[in-house]
Amino acid sequence: MEISPDSWILYEWKGLRLNATIVFTWVVMALLVLGSRAVTARLSESETVSRWQMMLEVIVTSIRDQIAEVGADDPGRYLPFIGTLFLFIATANLLAVVPGYVPPTGSLSTAAALALCVLIAVPLFSIGERGLRDYLSAYVQPTPLMLPFNIVAEISRTIALAVRLYGNVMSGTVIVGILISVAPFFFPVVMQLLGLLTGLIQAYIFAILAMVYIGSASRGRRDPDGPSGPRNAAETGG
């Protein structure tokens, strides 16, 4: 049984292999870019708004609201990064209803790449917000003894982010594959339905956790016991 779309080679040319992960990532990217370009090509500010523009507006404003609720002062600053993560993962997972499509997020490479983006984005946003010196001083925050633990925490939460997304999506695919051979027709459909729900929740979780990591790093010690929320649960559980 295949547990990764990486090993499914669609096309080979002079040793360059094009596997299913890359192809389906391109499909998702094309869908997102062309779709939103087609909608935003004719935006209107009048009273009659096309239903596609309405959909995009709802999506963007709700992402912005969610970012603001996690505790960012300026949601517009984080909206492009967090919104892209959410939309990409959500589309990649939801397209699983299309026959023949394998979610590229079910490959550890894609999940690791997304988690690495978060790993790099955290210091970038944080340095932009607080300056390099302030950011680096956060690593020796309680005492310099905590320096290795802080670094390990940074790395381990990245791995956890990648494996969580990969494991959830991959488990959906594998369980459907096993169930088709055990109890065909009805049960796999139910599990697919559950997989859609899990996929959307995972996209949400990934984006929220990325925002939580960025927010906690760029806020730092300015308010050590600030508003409690998903931030606290996430930081201890990561």
Partner: protein, 96 residues
């Protein structure tokens, strides 16, 4: 029995054990988290939005422990790194 059979046997056994033991903790924890969240919503229906969002995030964090166990057991069954190395050694031994 040769070593490949042993590795396969122990891998399958361990995979079952991994997912069995590894799902106990998250199951208990998720039940506890959900019941606490329900209690909180019943007490403060106004805060149900925040509570639900926090609940989802923490459920995903808890569930990831079980997912790690699942990934390990999947690797043991479908992508075991030791079976191929044993096969290579056997091929080398057979070849000379």
């Amino acid at each position: 029995m040769d070593s490949a059979t042993w590795i396969a046997m122990i891998s399958i056994f361990t995979a079952g054990l991994t997912i069995a033991i590894g799902s106990i903790g998250p199951a208990l924890a998720e039940g506890r988290a959900a019941s606490q969240a329900l209690q909180a919503i019943a007490q403060q229906p106004d805060a149900s939005n925040t509570i639900t969002r926090t609940l989802f995030v923490s459920l995903a964090m808890i569930e990831s422990t079980a997912i790690y166990c699942f990934v390990v057991s999947m690797i043991l069954i479908f992508a075991n790194p030791f079976t191929s190395s044993v096969a290579e050694t056997a091929a080398q031994a057979a070849g000379g």
